[in-house]
Symmetry: C2
């Protein structure tokens, strides 16, 4: 059993149902299966062998969904690229995983020369955009037209399905290896809990969050399993979300709380009819009581579900269910809900022993959803998977009814606008500025972004640089959202005896714990 099974199933059971809706375009399940089989043939023709990695660098589109199916169909391994990363970062992930085939759309063709210049192997590029195909790339529709449909390679079980890169604690992204079983375990566990809210008459899901992200991909996988048509939004736009929900009578959507707030804040929000919405799932962070209150008032017919997990958990571990949002117990609202069936979740102390209810420790999880490991990083994999449990790096506690509350993230991680930023990566970037002697990066609370990236910098003696220059320099190396939004200059950093920066002291100075 593999991730392409839903395509076989719905082509068999509902061949004429709309599988994908994008603008004026409609693709039925039968058409989707046929195009995927043909694209699978094209990939084989390009030399993709079972287990070979294939990357996608694109905005959401019907073709993105076709690629997500055709790569495993051909026997390949998905490598969905974070579109917010710089070409330097992307080149690193392609090189790290030796991904030799790349799908790219019009928005990202410009990155290809940089990628090619930094890779030690030849990158085969397929252009999935509607614009003119740049030289040195294959045109998607030409490839499809010239290819024979190939039978499904029938990859499944513990076969590698994807390498999902996530911000790396060592300053470089790490490739999370997920098998077909991993992804399906999370999807089925999530579906059992939420099917009642998803399988509704005339169900339609809107993809407003990016499909490259494990959350967006996970929603896509879950809804494809139950045969729900997927409405495509190329990228998040608050008004387009509201407009598409109204136009397509969308019943389900996934949004980060930041996105949700932007939709509600939009000046024309009240002019749209969002009454079709039955399920709104959100993740990355809990919802504030204020935001919840606004949602319950603005969308009275919509059930809310919070999902907690991480890429390493494929990604789902716990769910805060609709009823929990209505019970108005503030402690529960701050929690991440309770473990799904597929995810054994515990809170453990430094000795790996399970802690009592209410005691804060590291959140660990075990089950078929736990990643195979990090690509080419056996030591780090062994470390986080020690004892058969995925050590999330999140600190939290569980109450007597199994509700899990995350009290702190992996010590140094910053979540800004729903994206994970590892401070070490930012510190590495800032540290390359010739005038910088030392740097520590922390997250500070931010009304818009949840947290913002804040850099504490020590300059070399006699140098004088402004915050803008530090920020601009960082942006040449890392994505804009990772670059510090604020910079403070200090004489020296507080250090531990072992010479490590005491970030807790930096946070305390800013009024943070």
């Amino acid at each position: 059993m593999g991730i392409t099974q839903s395509l076989h199933r719905w082509a068999q059971q509902a061949p004429d149902r709309e599988a994908v809706v994008e603008g004026e375009s409609r693709t039925t399940f039968l058409e989707l299966r046929e195009r995927v089989a043909r694209l699978g043939g094209a990939l084989r023709g390009l030399g993709v062998e079972p287990g070979d990695r294939v990357a996608i660098l694109a905005l959401n589109s019907t073709r993105y969904l076709e690629c997500l199916n055709a790569v495993p169909w051909a026997g390949g391994v998905l490598n969905p690229v974070n579109i917010r990363w710089t070409p330097v970062e992307i080149a690193y992930t392609l090189g790290d995983s030796r991904t030799e085939v790349l799908f790219v759309d019009d928005a990202f063709t410009g990155a290809v020369p940089v990628l090619r210049s930094r890779l030690a192997f030849t990158l085969t590029v397929v252009h999935i955009g509607d614009g003119p195909t740049p030289e040195g790339m294959y045109r998607y529709e030409d490839l499809l037209a010239g290819a024979e449909p190939t039978p499904d390679a029938d990859r499944g079980g513990s076969d590698l399905a994807g390498v999902f890169y996530t911000g790396g604690t060592t300053g470089f992204p790490k490739g999370v290896m997920l098998s077909h079983d991993n992804l399906l375990a999370s999807a089925m566990g999530g579906l059992v809990a939420t099917a009642a809210f998803r399988i509704v008459p005339n169900a339609r899901v809107l993809h407003a969050a990016p499909l490259f992200h494990i959350a967006g991909y996970g929603v896509s996988l879950m809804t494809s399993i139950v045969g729900i048509p997927q409405v495509i939004l190329p990228f998040f736009d608050a008004e387009r979300v509201a407009a598409l929900v109204q136009e397509q009578r969308v019943t389900e959507i996934f949004l980060a709380p930041t996105m949700l707030q932007m939709v509600l804040d939009h000046p024309r929000f009240a002019t749209y009819d969002l009454s079709s919405l039955r399920l709104l799932t959100y993740g990355a962070s809990p919802i504030t009581a204020t935001l919840l209150d606004r949602v319950l008032k603005a969308l009275p017919g919509t059930s809310l579900v919070q999902a907690y997990g991480q890429t390493e958990l494929s990604p789902l571990a716990t769910l805060l269910m609709p009823q929990d949002h209505l019970d108005a117990d503030p402690a529960r609202l701050r929690s991440a809900g309770r473990p799904c069936f597929h995810a054994d979740v515990r809170v453990v102390g430094p000795d790996e022993g399970e802690l009592g209810r209410g005691e804060v420790g590291e959140i660990v999880s075990r089950g078929d959803h736990v990643m195979l490991g990090y690509w080419n990083r056996p030591d780090e994999s062994e470390q986080v998977l020690r004892g058969g449990w995925m050590h999330t790096g999140d600190l939290g506690f569980m109450d007597t009814d199994g509700y899990l509350t995350v009290v702190d993230r992996l010590k140094d991680m910053i979540v800004t606008g729903g994206e994970n930023v590892f401070s070490a990566e930012v510190e590495n970037a800032v540290g390359t500025h010739p005038d910088v002697e030392a740097c520590a990066v922390i997250g500070l609370p931010d009304a818009t972004w949840g947290e913002r990236v804040h850099a504490v910098v020590v300059l070399h003696a006699g140098r004088d640089v402004g915050a803008d220059e530090i920020r601009a320099h960082a942006k040449t190396l890392i994505a804009g959202y990772k670059a510090p939004r604020s910079v403070e200059f200090v004489e020296k950093l507080p250090l531990t005896a072992a010479g490590k920066v005491r970030k807790s002291v930096l946070r305390e100075r800013k009024g943070e714990r």
Copy 2:
């Protein structure tokens, strides 16, 4: 991930919720987990090692459910015994699978001496009844009281979870080996489709069908995954079903159509309030339009779901959903519904190629729910699992919307009162009568039992025996429901060129195809 996971989960999330209700007795999830851990310790103390088979021969009870959890908890393999079999048949299955430990309740202690006399090894017997414990058996509560709780052996994945014996085509039952993954794949696939009807406020399932049967066990596994309290009925009784639904406000029940008919036919049916019932699943055969009509009128608030599968499929393959029952398309009502996500289902011809829609061929299925094989029968296993597909032996066709209709069962199989009877087994039994020269057994339509077992017998020249004696003889060897209900005597049987009985001719003579 294994079949004990639901126990861990609900003891964590709802420790005080009722897990089992039986008469006046209540067992919470926390109590259940503690008793199971203790019983697991007792089993280890009795010498049960990982992979060892442990049988249960009992009516439904709280203790039955405890055993179903404690055996895998201790690392053992379940062997739930068909309570309708004769001690001779049961002894065969225990011997075949070398099952050295047996749980037995008051109803079946009488069979133990026969079992012991026929087994080549020592049978350790644990008495789970409330009556006095016969000599040579352990008393259940004493064992529990004297045992230390043991940690879960954490069996899961492709580890063997159970050997489920099913009537054998060669005249002896075959042990269907199911792994943890097999059972969970079927359960999760079924739950994704039906969760909306199962996870309802104050949900409670009533076990009226026997827990030894894969259908009853499957329902128990599904409902335990979503934490629904299980109400126990020791054995099917039409009025007790109605009374318990009323008394316990039961929301879900599984019944074979024959059982359902008996409930509706009961003279006091109308005096009971069954309005709490949200879901009625049935299996083993389609529902007749007449019966459906009665159900829809008698239980207007109840959704109907038909399940199709077999032990070898753990057991679920397709579901006919509530809406299909309301659409009143008679062709769909005769169908078995559509494949669940976990079950790739096709109809193939003799060359194993997939047939067109509407064409009749053998129903095959592929996926994580397909058994590991038959215990100690590598050749038969290889034969039915050829090409990676489970060959169900059922003939059927699929329509253009993926609805599967079973037009004939494994050529010679008879389904009577929801139980499978393989004609070869009956023929073997009848054939041992000294006056019988040849015998062929077919199923004939029967208003009460669906089908009845009919024997066509050729006597040795000059002998004269009546139908009653044939029937009585058979009952000394096989269960009563397997013995022929009608017997006809003929001069000779119609044979093929290869010397096989042409059963189609026998059926035609009786007005059957």
